[in-house]
C-alpha cells in the first residue's frame, strides 16, 4: 500500500491563499491545468504573483486569471496575444517582469535544483540587462539571472500514476516538467490517472517525489 495523493480540484485550490506565488504550466494555453485555473476563478483568489511563459488568450488558460483581475504581479516572456494583459500592464494594474523565454525556463530550473542563478548571454546589451550583474567568464560576458521558486506549481500532464510519476504529451510538456521541480507544493492535473507501475521508469518525465497532489477525475 502506498500513499494516495489524489484530491479534488476544489480541495486543491482551497490550499492556495490570496497573495500566493504560483507557477502555472502551459504555452499559449497548451498544456495548462485548465480545471485548476477554472476553479481558481470560481473560488476567486486575488493579489496573485503568477510565473508562466505567457498569458495565452483572453478566454483561454492563464488569460482567465487576467480577465478575472486576480493577478498583481506577472513574471512571463510573452503577453502579445492577450490584449487584456497588455492593457492591465500598461495601465499599471499588473506589475510585469518580462523575461526571455529561455532565461525564464532556466531560472525556474535553477530554483528547483538549488543553483544560485544562471549565467546567460541572452539579454546582454539590451533593456533586460538593466540593473543586473554582468559576469565575465573566460572573456565572454554573461548576465546573472536569479532563480525562481514559488509557493505552488500548478501543472498539467498527460498521465500520472497514483504515486505521481508523470508523462507529458508533445508540446504540452513545455514548462510543466520544469515547474514540477520548483514549486514548494506541486499540484498536477493529469488527463489520465493509471495504476502505479503502468508508467515504466524510463518513460517518467517527472518523478513522483516532485509531485504533492494529483487532481482526480472530474
Amino acid at each position: 500500500m502506498h500513499m494516495n495523493k489524489v484530491i479534488s480540484c476544489s480541495k486543491a485550490v482551497e490550499m492556495i491563499p490570496d497573495g500566493a506565488t504560483i507557477m502555472v504550466g502551459g504555452f499559449m494555453g497548451v498544456g495548462s491545468p485548465h480545471r485548476l485555473i477554472d476553479e481558481m476563478v470560481r473560488q476567486g483568489r486575488k493579489n496573485l504573483t503568477i510565473m508562466a511563459n505567457d498569458t495565452a488568450f483572453e478566454d483561454i488558460g492563464i488569460g482567465k486569471l487576467v480577465a478575472a483581475k486576480m493577478i498583481r504581479k506577472l513574471i512571463t516572456s510573452h503577453i502579445g496575444l492577450n490584449p487584456e494583459t497588455q492593457r492591465q500592464v500598461i495601465e499599471g494594474e499588473i506589475e510585469a517582469e518580462l523575461c526571455p523565454q529561455g532565461t525564464l525556463a532556466e531560472r525556474i530550473r535553477a530554483g528547483g535544483f538549488g543553483l544560485g542563478g544562471i549565467l546567460t548571454p541572452t539579454g546582454i546589451g539590451t533593456v533586460v540587462a538593466e540593473g543586473k550583474q554582468i559576469m565575465e567568464v573566460d572573456g565572454k560576458q554573461f548576465l546573472l539571472e536569479k532563480p525562481l521558486t514559488a509557493d505552488f506549481a500548478l501543472i498539467a500532464a498527460h498521465r500520472s500514476d497514483y504515486r505521481g510519476n508523470l508523462e507529458y504529451s508533445l508540446t504540452a510538456r513545455n514548462f510543466n516538467s520544469i515547474m514540477a521541480t520548483a514549486g514548494r507544493t506541486v499540484i498536477v492535473e493529469p488527463e489520465h490517472i493509471v495504476p502505479t507501475g503502468v508508467i515504466p521508469p524510463d518513460a517518467v518525465a517527472t518523478p513522483f517525489v516532485c509531485v504533492h497532489h494529483i487532481i482526480g477525475r472530474a
Binding site: M28, I79, Q101, G102, P121, I124, G125, L170, N174, I178
Partner: protein, 234 residues
C-alpha cells in the same frame, strides 16, 4: 510576385540539408513551402518539438501539438518532444543552425530590434532574444520599409533584441549582409534599381561594383501557405 512570397523564396535558398531551423511567427513560416523536395530540413518550434511539419490534413489536428503561436502543427516520423529548458538549451548552446525572424528595425551594425514598441506595443520578447543571441545563423526576413519609412537605420530607435550581429537581411527589395565593414548590398530584387534601395535605406550601404539580381524560381507556387497555419478554435 507577392512581396512575401519573393522574400520566402529567396530565404529558402539559404537553408541547408540536415540543418535545424527555427521559424519566427508570420512571414518566416512561408519558407518551408519553397524548399526542394529532396532537401531534409528539421524545424524546431521552441515550445518543444523538433521535426515540426504541417497538420497532415483536416480533422487530424492534435491539441497537444502546436507551434509557438498556438496554431496546430504536425510532426515528421522521428520527431522528438522536449521541454522548454532543452529547447532553449539547443538554441543558446549553438545547436540551432538557423533562425529566420521578422524585424522591426536593423541598425548599421546589423543589430536587430523586433520585440517591442515602447508606449504602444508590449508583447514581450518570447524566445526572440535567445534565438538571436544563440542561433548559429540569423536571417531577418522583413519588408524593406514600414509606412514608407526605412527599417534599416543608422541606429535602431526601438529596443534591441540582441547586440549580436545578424547574418543576413532579406527584403522585397534586396539582400543585405552585415559585415565588419558595414552593411553590404549583396543582391537587388528583380526590377529594383540600386538607387531605389539606397533611397529606401537610412543606413549606409556598401555597394559592390557588381550587384547581382536576386534569383528566385517564379515557377514555384505563389499562394501564401504557412507552416502550421491551422489556427486554434479560440
Amino acid at each position: 510576385m507577392d512581396d512575401k512570397i519573393l522574400i520566402a523564396k529567396r530565404v529558402a535558398l539559404e537553408l541547408k540539408s540536415g540543418s535545424l531551423v527555427n521559424l519566427g511567427i508570420g512571414l518566416p513560416t512561408l519558407v518551408p513551402r519553397y524548399l526542394p523536395s529532396d532537401m531534409e530540413v528539421y524545424f524546431q518550434s521552441e515550445n518543444g518539438i523538433i521535426g515540426m511539419a504541417s497538420v497532415p490534413g483536416p480533422g487530424m489536428e492534435e491539441p497537444s501539438l502546436t507551434d509557438a503561436g498556438g496554431g496546430f502543427v504536425g510532426a515528421i516520423p522521428g520527431a522528438a518532444s522536449i521541454d522548454s529548458c532543452f529547447s532553449f538549451g539547443l538554441i543558446r548552446g549553438g545547436h540551432l543552425d538557423l533562425t529566420i525572424l521578422g524585424g522591426l528595425e536593423v541598425d548599421e551594425q546589423g543589430r536587430l530590434a523586433n520585440w517591442m514598441v515602447p508606449g504602444s506595443r508590449l508583447p514581450g520578447m518570447g524566445g526572440a532574444m535567445d534565438l538571436v543571441t544563440g542561433a548559429k545563423r540569423v536571417i531577418v526576413a522583413m519588408s524593406h520599409t514600414a509606412k514608407g519609412q526605412p527599417k534599416i537605420k543608422k541606429q535602431c530607435s526601438l529596443p534591441l533584441t540582441s547586440v549580436r550581429r545578424i547574418n543576413l537581411i532579406v527584403t522585397e527589395m534586396a539582400v543585405i549582409e552585415p559585415t565588419d565593414e558595414g552593411l553590404v548590398l549583396r543582391e537587388a530584387a528583380p526590377g529594383v534599381k540600386i538607387e531605389e534601395i539606397t533611397a529606401a535605406t537610412e543606413a549606409d550601404l556598401i555597394v559592390p561594383a557588381h550587384v547581382p539580381e536576386m534569383q528566385v524560381d517564379p515557377a514555384l507556387p505563389g499562394d501564401l501557405f504557412y507552416l502550421g497555419g491551422t489556427s486554434r478554435s479560440h
